[in-house]
Amino acid sequence: MSGALTDVRADRLTVAFGDNVVLRNLELHIAPGEFVALLGRSGSGKTTLLRVLAGLQTHSSGELHVPAARSVVFQEARLLPWKRVIDNVAIGLREPDARERAAAALREVGLEHRRDAWPATLSGGEAQRAGLARAIVREPHFLLLDEPFASIDALTRLRMYDLVIGLWRRHGPSVLLVTHDVDEALILADRIVILDAGRIAANLRVGLPRPRDAAIPGFAHVRRTILTLLGVSPADSPFTDGTDARAPHAISSGVSP
Protein backbone atom coordinates (compact mmCIF):
# COMPACT_ATOMS: atom_id res chain seq x y z
CA MET A 1 0.00 0.00 0.00
CA SER A 2 1.53 3.29 -0.96
CA GLY A 3 0.94 6.06 1.53
CA ALA A 4 -0.28 8.66 -0.94
CA LEU A 5 -3.11 6.44 -2.15
CA THR A 6 -4.28 5.02 1.13
CA ASP A 7 -3.82 7.95 3.48
CA VAL A 8 -6.88 9.67 4.81
CA ARG A 9 -6.25 13.37 4.98
CA ALA A 10 -8.53 16.32 5.66
CA ASP A 11 -7.13 19.86 5.55
CA ARG A 12 -9.13 22.82 6.78
CA LEU A 13 -12.26 20.79 6.17
CA THR A 14 -15.43 22.79 6.67
CA VAL A 15 -18.99 21.57 6.37
CA ALA A 16 -21.87 23.98 6.76
CA PHE A 17 -25.60 23.65 6.27
CA GLY A 18 -26.62 27.23 5.57
CA ASP A 19 -25.49 29.24 8.57
CA ASN A 20 -24.98 26.15 10.66
CA VAL A 21 -21.28 25.28 10.58
CA VAL A 22 -20.99 21.65 11.63
CA LEU A 23 -17.28 21.13 11.02
CA ARG A 24 -14.86 24.03 10.91
CA ASN A 25 -11.30 23.98 9.60
CA LEU A 26 -10.87 20.42 10.69
CA GLU A 27 -7.48 18.73 10.32
CA LEU A 28 -7.38 14.96 10.34
CA HIS A 29 -4.81 12.48 9.17
CA ILE A 30 -5.13 8.74 9.39
CA ALA A 31 -2.06 6.74 8.42
CA PRO A 32 -2.42 3.53 6.39
CA GLY A 33 -3.47 0.74 8.69
CA GLU A 34 -4.12 3.01 11.63
CA PHE A 35 -7.18 2.45 13.85
CA VAL A 36 -8.64 5.77 14.94
CA ALA A 37 -11.66 6.23 17.18
CA LEU A 38 -13.66 9.42 16.91
CA LEU A 39 -15.31 10.35 20.17
CA GLY A 40 -17.68 13.17 20.84
CA ARG A 41 -21.01 13.92 22.33
CA SER A 42 -24.18 14.12 20.25
CA GLY A 43 -24.06 17.12 17.95
CA SER A 44 -20.27 17.35 17.97
CA GLY A 45 -20.19 16.70 14.23
CA LYS A 46 -18.82 13.15 14.31
CA THR A 47 -21.57 11.71 12.17
CA THR A 48 -21.15 14.51 9.64
CA LEU A 49 -17.42 13.87 9.50
CA LEU A 50 -18.03 10.17 8.88
CA ARG A 51 -20.54 10.93 6.13
CA VAL A 52 -18.12 13.30 4.41
CA LEU A 53 -15.30 10.76 4.63
CA ALA A 54 -17.64 8.04 3.32
CA GLY A 55 -18.59 10.20 0.35
CA LEU A 56 -22.22 10.44 1.38
CA GLN A 57 -22.01 14.16 1.80
CA THR A 58 -19.98 16.95 0.23
CA HIS A 59 -17.87 19.39 2.20
CA SER A 60 -18.17 23.14 1.90
CA SER A 61 -14.48 23.98 1.75
CA GLY A 62 -11.06 22.54 2.46
CA GLU A 63 -9.12 19.63 1.05
CA LEU A 64 -10.04 16.01 1.39
CA HIS A 65 -8.13 12.90 0.32
CA VAL A 66 -9.80 9.59 0.94
CA PRO A 67 -8.94 6.20 -0.61
CA ALA A 68 -11.40 5.17 -3.30
CA ALA A 69 -11.57 1.69 -1.80
CA ARG A 70 -13.58 2.39 1.30
CA SER A 71 -16.46 0.74 2.99
CA VAL A 72 -18.87 1.47 5.80
CA VAL A 73 -20.47 -0.50 8.60
CA PHE A 74 -23.57 1.40 9.66
CA GLN A 75 -25.13 1.67 13.07
CA GLU A 76 -28.12 -0.24 11.79
CA ALA A 77 -26.84 -3.00 9.57
CA ARG A 78 -28.83 -1.70 6.57
CA LEU A 79 -29.13 -5.12 5.01
CA LEU A 80 -31.61 -5.39 2.15
CA PRO A 81 -34.42 -7.35 3.81
CA TRP A 82 -35.43 -9.06 0.55
CA LYS A 83 -31.99 -10.52 -0.11
CA ARG A 84 -30.55 -13.47 1.73
CA VAL A 85 -27.51 -12.80 3.88
CA ILE A 86 -25.01 -14.04 1.31
CA ASP A 87 -26.54 -11.89 -1.45
CA ASN A 88 -26.40 -8.89 0.85
CA VAL A 89 -22.70 -9.49 1.40
CA ALA A 90 -22.07 -9.96 -2.33
CA ILE A 91 -24.07 -6.91 -3.34
CA GLY A 92 -22.37 -4.65 -5.86
CA LEU A 93 -19.46 -7.07 -6.39
CA ARG A 94 -18.72 -7.48 -10.09
CA GLU A 95 -16.24 -10.35 -9.94
CA PRO A 96 -17.44 -13.73 -11.20
CA ASP A 97 -16.42 -15.32 -7.89
CA ALA A 98 -18.45 -12.80 -5.87
CA ARG A 99 -20.52 -15.43 -4.09
CA GLU A 100 -17.46 -17.49 -3.15
CA ARG A 101 -15.82 -14.39 -1.74
CA ALA A 102 -18.99 -13.47 0.12
CA ALA A 103 -19.11 -16.98 1.57
CA ALA A 104 -15.49 -16.65 2.68
CA ALA A 105 -16.26 -13.30 4.33
CA LEU A 106 -19.21 -14.85 6.15
CA ARG A 107 -16.93 -17.65 7.33
CA GLU A 108 -14.52 -15.04 8.61
CA VAL A 109 -17.17 -13.32 10.73
CA GLY A 110 -18.56 -16.66 11.92
CA LEU A 111 -21.87 -16.35 10.12
CA GLU A 112 -21.54 -19.12 7.56
CA HIS A 113 -24.45 -21.06 9.05
CA ARG A 114 -26.77 -18.09 8.36
CA ARG A 115 -25.74 -17.49 4.74
CA ASP A 116 -29.19 -18.30 3.35
CA ALA A 117 -31.17 -16.62 6.13
CA TRP A 118 -33.42 -13.61 5.63
CA PRO A 119 -32.05 -10.52 7.40
CA ALA A 120 -35.25 -10.16 9.43
CA THR A 121 -34.41 -13.40 11.24
CA LEU A 122 -30.93 -12.28 12.33
CA SER A 123 -30.17 -11.11 15.84
CA GLY A 124 -28.61 -7.67 16.26
CA GLY A 125 -25.14 -9.17 16.60
CA GLU A 126 -25.62 -11.42 13.57
CA ALA A 127 -26.84 -8.50 11.47
CA GLN A 128 -23.73 -6.52 12.36
CA ARG A 129 -21.53 -9.50 11.53
CA ALA A 130 -23.19 -9.56 8.12
CA GLY A 131 -22.56 -5.82 7.87
CA LEU A 132 -18.88 -6.40 8.69
CA ALA A 133 -18.67 -9.20 6.11
CA ARG A 134 -20.24 -6.95 3.48
CA ALA A 135 -17.69 -4.23 4.24
CA ILE A 136 -14.63 -6.47 4.44
CA VAL A 137 -15.38 -8.50 1.30
CA ARG A 138 -14.58 -5.35 -0.70
CA GLU A 139 -11.03 -5.30 0.74
CA PRO A 140 -11.29 -1.62 1.63
CA HIS A 141 -8.23 0.52 2.28
CA PHE A 142 -10.38 2.61 4.57
CA LEU A 143 -13.08 1.14 6.77
CA LEU A 144 -15.60 3.43 8.44
CA LEU A 145 -17.50 2.13 11.42
CA ASP A 146 -20.48 4.27 12.39
CA GLU A 147 -21.35 3.28 15.98
CA PRO A 148 -21.75 -0.29 14.78
CA PHE A 149 -22.08 -1.79 18.25
CA ALA A 150 -24.42 0.79 19.77
CA SER A 151 -27.50 -1.41 19.66
CA ILE A 152 -25.85 -4.70 20.56
CA ASP A 153 -25.95 -6.23 24.02
CA ALA A 154 -22.83 -5.91 26.17
CA LEU A 155 -21.73 -9.54 25.96
CA THR A 156 -22.10 -9.76 22.20
CA ARG A 157 -20.28 -6.46 21.95
CA LEU A 158 -17.17 -7.90 23.62
CA ARG A 159 -17.06 -10.70 21.03
CA MET A 160 -17.54 -8.14 18.24
CA TYR A 161 -14.46 -6.24 19.48
CA ASP A 162 -12.32 -9.35 19.04
CA LEU A 163 -13.83 -9.90 15.63
CA VAL A 164 -13.14 -6.33 14.48
CA ILE A 165 -9.56 -6.44 15.76
CA GLY A 166 -9.04 -9.77 13.97
CA LEU A 167 -10.40 -8.42 10.68
CA TRP A 168 -8.32 -5.28 11.00
CA ARG A 169 -5.15 -7.32 11.66
CA ARG A 170 -5.71 -9.63 8.72
CA HIS A 171 -6.90 -7.10 6.14
CA GLY A 172 -4.99 -4.04 7.36
CA PRO A 173 -7.31 -1.18 6.38
CA SER A 174 -7.21 2.19 8.05
CA VAL A 175 -10.19 2.33 10.36
CA LEU A 176 -12.26 5.21 11.62
CA LEU A 177 -14.62 4.16 14.39
CA VAL A 178 -17.26 6.68 15.38
CA THR A 179 -18.52 5.99 18.87
CA HIS A 180 -19.65 7.64 22.06
CA ASP A 181 -18.43 4.75 24.18
CA VAL A 182 -15.08 5.58 25.79
CA ASP A 183 -14.35 1.97 26.74
CA GLU A 184 -14.99 0.82 23.20
CA ALA A 185 -12.60 3.44 21.82
CA LEU A 186 -9.94 2.45 24.35
CA ILE A 187 -10.22 -1.25 23.65
CA LEU A 188 -10.03 -0.87 19.88
CA ALA A 189 -8.13 2.20 18.77
CA ASP A 190 -4.49 3.23 18.28
CA ARG A 191 -5.52 6.81 18.62
CA ILE A 192 -8.53 8.67 19.94
CA VAL A 193 -9.70 11.89 18.36
CA ILE A 194 -12.14 13.93 20.38
CA LEU A 195 -14.48 16.14 18.44
CA ASP A 196 -16.22 19.04 20.05
CA ALA A 197 -18.39 21.65 18.35
CA GLY A 198 -16.97 20.82 14.92
CA ARG A 199 -13.32 21.03 15.93
CA ILE A 200 -10.82 18.48 17.09
CA ALA A 201 -10.52 19.08 20.81
CA ALA A 202 -7.92 16.43 21.52
CA ASN A 203 -5.79 13.82 19.85
CA LEU A 204 -4.62 11.02 22.09
CA ARG A 205 -2.40 8.10 21.24
CA VAL A 206 -3.49 5.04 23.17
CA GLY A 207 -0.30 3.36 24.33
CA LEU A 208 -1.97 0.46 26.08
CA PRO A 209 -0.75 -3.03 25.10
CA ARG A 210 -3.05 -5.31 23.12
CA PRO A 211 -5.17 -7.34 23.65
CA ARG A 212 -6.98 -4.89 25.85
CA ASP A 213 -9.84 -4.99 28.24
CA ALA A 214 -11.00 -2.68 30.97
CA ALA A 215 -9.01 -4.58 33.60
CA ILE A 216 -5.53 -3.98 32.19
CA PRO A 217 -3.23 -1.60 34.09
CA GLY A 218 -3.53 2.00 32.97
CA PHE A 219 -6.94 1.59 31.36
CA ALA A 220 -8.83 3.36 34.13
CA HIS A 221 -6.35 6.19 34.14
CA VAL A 222 -6.62 6.80 30.40
CA ARG A 223 -10.39 6.60 30.58
CA ARG A 224 -10.48 9.20 33.33
CA THR A 225 -8.34 11.51 31.21
CA ILE A 226 -10.66 11.12 28.24
CA LEU A 227 -13.81 11.62 30.28
CA THR A 228 -12.35 14.81 31.66
CA LEU A 229 -11.60 15.95 28.11
CA LEU A 230 -15.18 15.14 27.17
CA GLY A 231 -16.33 17.34 30.02
CA VAL A 232 -17.41 14.54 32.33
CA SER A 233 -15.29 15.16 35.41
CA PRO A 234 -15.59 12.57 38.18
CA ALA A 235 -17.22 15.12 40.47
CA ASP A 236 -19.96 15.77 37.90
CA SER A 237 -20.97 12.19 37.62
CA PRO A 238 -23.95 11.10 39.65
CA PHE A 239 -22.55 7.58 39.58
CA THR A 240 -19.45 8.34 41.64
CA ASP A 241 -19.16 8.46 45.39
CA GLY A 242 -16.04 10.62 45.43
CA THR A 243 -13.56 7.81 45.94
CA ASP A 244 -14.20 6.16 42.61
CA ALA A 245 -13.91 7.75 39.20
CA ARG A 246 -16.13 5.28 37.42
CA ALA A 247 -18.01 6.59 34.48
CA PRO A 248 -21.51 5.36 33.61
CA HIS A 249 -19.99 3.19 30.87
CA ALA A 250 -17.74 1.44 33.31
CA ILE A 251 -20.64 0.77 35.57
CA SER A 252 -22.81 -0.58 32.81
CA SER A 253 -20.13 -3.02 31.72
CA GLY A 254 -19.61 -4.10 35.31
CA VAL A 255 -15.91 -3.35 35.49
CA SER A 256 -14.32 -1.42 38.31
CA PRO A 257 -11.06 0.42 37.84
Binding site: G55, F74, T121
Partner: protein, 278 residues
Amino acid sequence: MKAVLNITAPSAAQHARGPRIPAIGWGWARNVVSPLALVVLWQLGSASGVIPASKLAAPVAIVRAFWSLTLSGALWNDLVVSVARVALGASIGVALGVVLALAVGLWKSNDVIVDPVLQMLRTLPYLGMTPLLILWFGIGEAPKIALVAFASMFPVYLTLLGGIRAVDPKLLEAARIFGLTRWETIRDVILPGSLAPALVGLRYALGAAWLSLVVGEQINADRGIGYLIMDARDFLRTDVIMVGLLLYAILGLATDAIVRALEARALVWRPRAAAEAR
Protein backbone atom coordinates in the same frame (compact mmCIF):
# COMPACT_ATOMS: atom_id res chain seq x y z
CA MET B 1 -32.80 -2.27 15.12
CA LYS B 2 -34.47 0.54 13.32
CA ALA B 3 -33.77 -0.87 9.87
CA VAL B 4 -35.80 -3.94 10.64
CA LEU B 5 -38.58 -1.85 12.08
CA ASN B 6 -38.80 0.12 8.87
CA ILE B 7 -39.13 -3.09 6.95
CA THR B 8 -42.14 -4.10 8.95
CA ALA B 9 -43.94 -0.92 7.91
CA PRO B 10 -45.38 -2.32 4.63
CA SER B 11 -46.79 -5.26 6.52
CA ALA B 12 -49.17 -2.91 8.27
CA ALA B 13 -51.58 -3.99 5.57
CA GLN B 14 -51.14 -7.52 6.74
CA HIS B 15 -51.94 -6.47 10.29
CA ALA B 16 -55.07 -4.77 9.00
CA ARG B 17 -56.30 -8.19 7.97
CA GLY B 18 -56.65 -8.93 11.61
CA PRO B 19 -55.51 -11.80 13.72
CA ARG B 20 -54.89 -15.13 12.14
CA ILE B 21 -57.65 -17.67 12.54
CA PRO B 22 -56.31 -20.78 14.24
CA ALA B 23 -55.97 -23.66 11.79
CA ILE B 24 -57.45 -26.26 14.12
CA GLY B 25 -60.40 -26.34 16.48
CA TRP B 26 -64.01 -25.37 16.07
CA GLY B 27 -63.45 -21.61 16.04
CA TRP B 28 -64.68 -21.38 12.45
CA ALA B 29 -67.99 -23.01 13.36
CA ARG B 30 -68.86 -19.98 15.47
CA ASN B 31 -68.55 -17.79 12.40
CA VAL B 32 -71.02 -19.77 10.26
CA VAL B 33 -73.80 -20.01 12.81
CA SER B 34 -75.39 -16.61 12.19
CA PRO B 35 -75.12 -16.63 8.34
CA LEU B 36 -76.56 -20.13 8.32
CA ALA B 37 -79.42 -19.06 10.58
CA LEU B 38 -80.13 -16.17 8.23
CA VAL B 39 -80.31 -18.52 5.23
CA VAL B 40 -82.69 -20.82 7.13
CA LEU B 41 -84.92 -17.86 8.05
CA TRP B 42 -84.84 -16.69 4.45
CA GLN B 43 -85.87 -20.14 3.22
CA LEU B 44 -88.69 -20.29 5.76
CA GLY B 45 -89.81 -16.80 4.74
CA SER B 46 -89.87 -17.79 1.08
CA ALA B 47 -91.66 -21.06 1.73
CA SER B 48 -94.34 -19.39 3.83
CA GLY B 49 -94.87 -16.70 1.22
CA VAL B 50 -93.65 -13.81 3.39
CA ILE B 51 -90.88 -13.19 0.84
CA PRO B 52 -92.43 -13.27 -2.66
CA ALA B 53 -90.29 -15.01 -5.31
CA SER B 54 -90.75 -12.02 -7.63
CA LYS B 55 -88.72 -9.89 -5.16
CA LEU B 56 -86.22 -12.43 -3.87
CA ALA B 57 -85.88 -16.09 -4.78
CA ALA B 58 -85.61 -18.72 -2.08
CA PRO B 59 -82.15 -20.09 -1.31
CA VAL B 60 -83.19 -23.51 -2.56
CA ALA B 61 -84.43 -21.95 -5.83
CA ILE B 62 -81.10 -20.12 -6.23
CA VAL B 63 -79.18 -23.37 -5.79
CA ARG B 64 -81.49 -25.04 -8.32
CA ALA B 65 -81.00 -22.19 -10.81
CA PHE B 66 -77.26 -22.40 -10.29
CA TRP B 67 -77.35 -26.11 -11.01
CA SER B 68 -79.46 -25.90 -14.14
CA LEU B 69 -77.41 -22.98 -15.51
CA THR B 70 -74.30 -25.00 -14.88
CA LEU B 71 -75.74 -28.06 -16.62
CA SER B 72 -76.86 -26.07 -19.66
CA GLY B 73 -73.39 -24.53 -19.98
CA ALA B 74 -74.85 -21.01 -19.99
CA LEU B 75 -73.19 -20.19 -16.70
CA TRP B 76 -69.80 -21.30 -17.88
CA ASN B 77 -70.00 -19.29 -21.12
CA ASP B 78 -70.96 -16.09 -19.32
CA LEU B 79 -68.37 -16.66 -16.65
CA VAL B 80 -65.58 -17.07 -19.20
CA VAL B 81 -66.62 -13.88 -20.96
CA SER B 82 -66.66 -11.89 -17.72
CA VAL B 83 -63.35 -13.28 -16.50
CA ALA B 84 -61.78 -12.50 -19.87
CA ARG B 85 -63.05 -8.91 -19.70
CA VAL B 86 -61.60 -8.42 -16.24
CA ALA B 87 -58.35 -10.13 -17.18
CA LEU B 88 -57.85 -7.95 -20.24
CA GLY B 89 -59.05 -4.71 -18.68
CA ALA B 90 -57.12 -5.19 -15.44
CA SER B 91 -53.98 -6.18 -17.35
CA ILE B 92 -54.12 -2.96 -19.32
CA GLY B 93 -54.93 -0.90 -16.24
CA VAL B 94 -52.31 -2.49 -14.00
CA ALA B 95 -49.66 -2.24 -16.72
CA LEU B 96 -50.47 1.45 -17.22
CA GLY B 97 -50.43 2.04 -13.48
CA VAL B 98 -47.04 0.35 -13.10
CA VAL B 99 -45.49 2.20 -16.04
CA LEU B 100 -46.80 5.57 -14.90
CA ALA B 101 -45.76 5.01 -11.26
CA LEU B 102 -42.26 4.00 -12.37
CA ALA B 103 -42.02 6.98 -14.71
CA VAL B 104 -43.10 9.41 -12.00
CA GLY B 105 -41.32 7.73 -9.10
CA LEU B 106 -37.96 7.21 -10.77
CA TRP B 107 -37.66 10.41 -12.81
CA LYS B 108 -38.20 13.61 -10.97
CA SER B 109 -39.08 15.53 -14.14
CA ASN B 110 -42.17 13.38 -14.70
CA ASP B 111 -43.35 14.12 -11.21
CA VAL B 112 -44.28 17.65 -12.23
CA ILE B 113 -45.77 16.70 -15.59
CA VAL B 114 -47.61 13.42 -15.07
CA ASP B 115 -48.57 13.30 -11.42
CA PRO B 116 -50.86 16.37 -11.30
CA VAL B 117 -52.80 15.09 -14.31
CA LEU B 118 -53.28 11.68 -12.78
CA GLN B 119 -54.24 13.11 -9.42
CA MET B 120 -56.86 15.15 -11.25
CA LEU B 121 -58.22 12.18 -13.22
CA ARG B 122 -58.25 10.09 -10.07
CA THR B 123 -60.91 12.30 -8.53
CA LEU B 124 -63.30 11.60 -11.42
CA PRO B 125 -66.03 9.15 -10.44
CA TYR B 126 -65.01 6.57 -12.98
CA LEU B 127 -68.30 4.70 -12.96
CA GLY B 128 -69.95 7.94 -14.02
CA MET B 129 -67.75 7.97 -17.10
CA THR B 130 -69.76 5.17 -18.68
CA PRO B 131 -71.77 7.42 -21.04
CA LEU B 132 -68.58 9.09 -22.21
CA LEU B 133 -66.88 5.73 -22.78
CA ILE B 134 -69.87 4.60 -24.86
CA LEU B 135 -69.53 7.72 -27.02
CA TRP B 136 -65.80 7.07 -27.41
CA PHE B 137 -65.75 3.31 -27.84
CA GLY B 138 -69.28 2.37 -28.92
CA ILE B 139 -71.29 -0.35 -27.23
CA GLY B 140 -69.14 -3.41 -27.89
CA GLU B 141 -66.38 -4.88 -25.76
CA ALA B 142 -64.19 -1.77 -25.83
CA PRO B 143 -66.07 0.49 -23.37
CA LYS B 144 -66.36 -2.36 -20.84
CA ILE B 145 -62.66 -3.12 -21.00
CA ALA B 146 -61.80 0.59 -20.92
CA LEU B 147 -63.87 1.06 -17.78
CA VAL B 148 -62.15 -1.88 -16.06
CA ALA B 149 -58.73 -0.62 -17.15
CA PHE B 150 -59.44 2.91 -15.95
CA ALA B 151 -60.68 1.66 -12.59
CA SER B 152 -57.77 -0.67 -11.94
CA MET B 153 -55.02 1.72 -13.00
CA PHE B 154 -55.21 4.17 -10.10
CA PRO B 155 -54.84 1.89 -7.08
CA VAL B 156 -51.69 0.41 -8.59
CA TYR B 157 -50.33 3.81 -9.61
CA LEU B 158 -50.91 5.34 -6.19
CA THR B 159 -49.60 2.49 -4.07
CA LEU B 160 -46.55 1.74 -6.20
CA LEU B 161 -45.64 5.42 -6.38
CA GLY B 162 -46.15 5.72 -2.62
CA GLY B 163 -43.95 2.66 -2.14
CA ILE B 164 -41.18 4.03 -4.35
CA ARG B 165 -41.22 7.31 -2.48
CA ALA B 166 -41.20 5.57 0.90
CA VAL B 167 -38.16 3.38 0.20
CA ASP B 168 -35.85 3.72 3.18
CA PRO B 169 -33.26 6.41 2.29
CA LYS B 170 -30.78 4.56 4.49
CA LEU B 171 -30.93 1.58 2.16
CA LEU B 172 -30.44 3.88 -0.83
CA GLU B 173 -27.38 5.29 0.90
CA ALA B 174 -26.05 1.81 1.52
CA ALA B 175 -26.61 1.01 -2.16
CA ARG B 176 -24.46 4.01 -3.03
CA ILE B 177 -21.70 2.99 -0.64
CA PHE B 178 -21.60 -0.55 -2.00
CA GLY B 179 -21.34 0.62 -5.57
CA LEU B 180 -24.72 -0.21 -7.08
CA THR B 181 -25.45 1.43 -10.40
CA ARG B 182 -28.67 3.35 -10.91
CA TRP B 183 -30.28 0.36 -12.61
CA GLU B 184 -29.11 -2.05 -9.91
CA THR B 185 -30.46 0.29 -7.24
CA ILE B 186 -33.85 0.28 -8.95
CA ARG B 187 -33.82 -3.50 -9.37
CA ASP B 188 -32.41 -4.47 -5.98
CA VAL B 189 -33.59 -1.71 -3.66
CA ILE B 190 -36.43 0.43 -5.01
CA LEU B 191 -38.62 -2.20 -6.67
CA PRO B 192 -38.42 -4.86 -3.94
CA GLY B 193 -38.90 -2.12 -1.36
CA SER B 194 -42.13 -0.96 -2.94
CA LEU B 195 -43.50 -4.40 -3.76
CA ALA B 196 -45.54 -4.81 -0.57
CA PRO B 197 -47.63 -1.64 -1.02
CA ALA B 198 -47.89 -2.33 -4.76
CA LEU B 199 -49.42 -5.74 -4.08
CA VAL B 200 -51.93 -4.16 -1.72
CA GLY B 201 -52.70 -1.79 -4.59
CA LEU B 202 -53.15 -4.74 -6.91
CA ARG B 203 -55.78 -6.18 -4.58
CA TYR B 204 -57.63 -2.88 -4.56
CA ALA B 205 -57.26 -2.70 -8.34
CA LEU B 206 -58.83 -6.09 -8.89
CA GLY B 207 -61.65 -5.21 -6.53
CA ALA B 208 -62.27 -2.05 -8.53
CA ALA B 209 -62.00 -4.07 -11.75
CA TRP B 210 -64.85 -6.40 -10.75
CA LEU B 211 -66.94 -3.51 -9.51
CA SER B 212 -66.57 -1.61 -12.77
CA LEU B 213 -67.27 -4.76 -14.76
CA VAL B 214 -70.62 -5.08 -12.97
CA VAL B 215 -71.47 -1.60 -14.19
CA GLY B 216 -69.86 -2.09 -17.60
CA GLU B 217 -71.73 -5.29 -18.30
CA GLN B 218 -75.03 -3.54 -17.89
CA ILE B 219 -74.33 -1.54 -21.04
CA ASN B 220 -75.89 -3.41 -23.86
CA ALA B 221 -74.14 -6.65 -23.07
CA ASP B 222 -75.11 -9.81 -24.92
CA ARG B 223 -72.76 -12.08 -22.99
CA GLY B 224 -71.22 -12.19 -19.56
CA ILE B 225 -72.52 -12.38 -16.02
CA GLY B 226 -73.95 -8.88 -16.31
CA TYR B 227 -75.94 -10.00 -19.34
CA LEU B 228 -77.15 -13.03 -17.39
CA ILE B 229 -78.45 -10.69 -14.69
CA MET B 230 -80.03 -8.15 -17.05
CA ASP B 231 -81.67 -10.90 -19.06
CA ALA B 232 -83.04 -12.51 -15.88
CA ARG B 233 -84.48 -9.17 -14.81
CA ASP B 234 -86.61 -9.07 -17.96
CA PHE B 235 -88.08 -12.41 -16.96
CA LEU B 236 -88.39 -11.58 -13.24
CA ARG B 237 -86.00 -14.46 -12.51
CA THR B 238 -84.69 -13.30 -9.13
CA ASP B 239 -83.07 -16.70 -8.65
CA VAL B 240 -80.85 -16.17 -11.71
CA ILE B 241 -80.10 -12.59 -10.64
CA MET B 242 -78.90 -13.92 -7.29
CA VAL B 243 -76.78 -16.54 -9.05
CA GLY B 244 -75.11 -13.74 -11.03
CA LEU B 245 -74.47 -11.66 -7.93
CA LEU B 246 -73.03 -14.64 -6.09
CA LEU B 247 -70.78 -15.36 -9.05
CA TYR B 248 -69.43 -11.82 -8.95
CA ALA B 249 -68.76 -12.22 -5.24
CA ILE B 250 -67.02 -15.57 -5.67
CA LEU B 251 -64.88 -14.29 -8.53
CA GLY B 252 -63.92 -11.21 -6.51
CA LEU B 253 -62.91 -13.37 -3.58
CA ALA B 254 -61.02 -15.75 -5.84
CA THR B 255 -58.93 -13.02 -7.46
CA ASP B 256 -58.20 -11.58 -4.03
CA ALA B 257 -57.06 -14.98 -2.82
CA ILE B 258 -54.78 -15.31 -5.83
CA VAL B 259 -53.08 -11.99 -5.09
CA ARG B 260 -52.76 -12.89 -1.43
CA ALA B 261 -51.09 -16.17 -2.35
CA LEU B 262 -48.79 -14.21 -4.64
CA GLU B 263 -48.08 -11.82 -1.78
CA ALA B 264 -47.14 -14.63 0.56
CA ARG B 265 -44.68 -15.98 -1.98
CA ALA B 266 -43.17 -12.69 -3.09
CA LEU B 267 -42.83 -11.22 0.39
CA VAL B 268 -41.43 -14.29 2.11
CA TRP B 269 -38.60 -12.15 3.47
CA ARG B 270 -40.90 -10.02 5.61
CA PRO B 271 -40.21 -10.34 9.32
CA ARG B 272 -43.25 -12.43 10.20
CA ALA B 273 -43.11 -14.62 7.12
CA ALA B 274 -39.34 -14.98 7.38
CA ALA B 275 -39.55 -16.07 11.02
CA GLU B 276 -42.04 -18.78 10.04
CA ALA B 277 -40.02 -19.95 7.04
CA ARG B 278 -36.85 -20.35 9.08
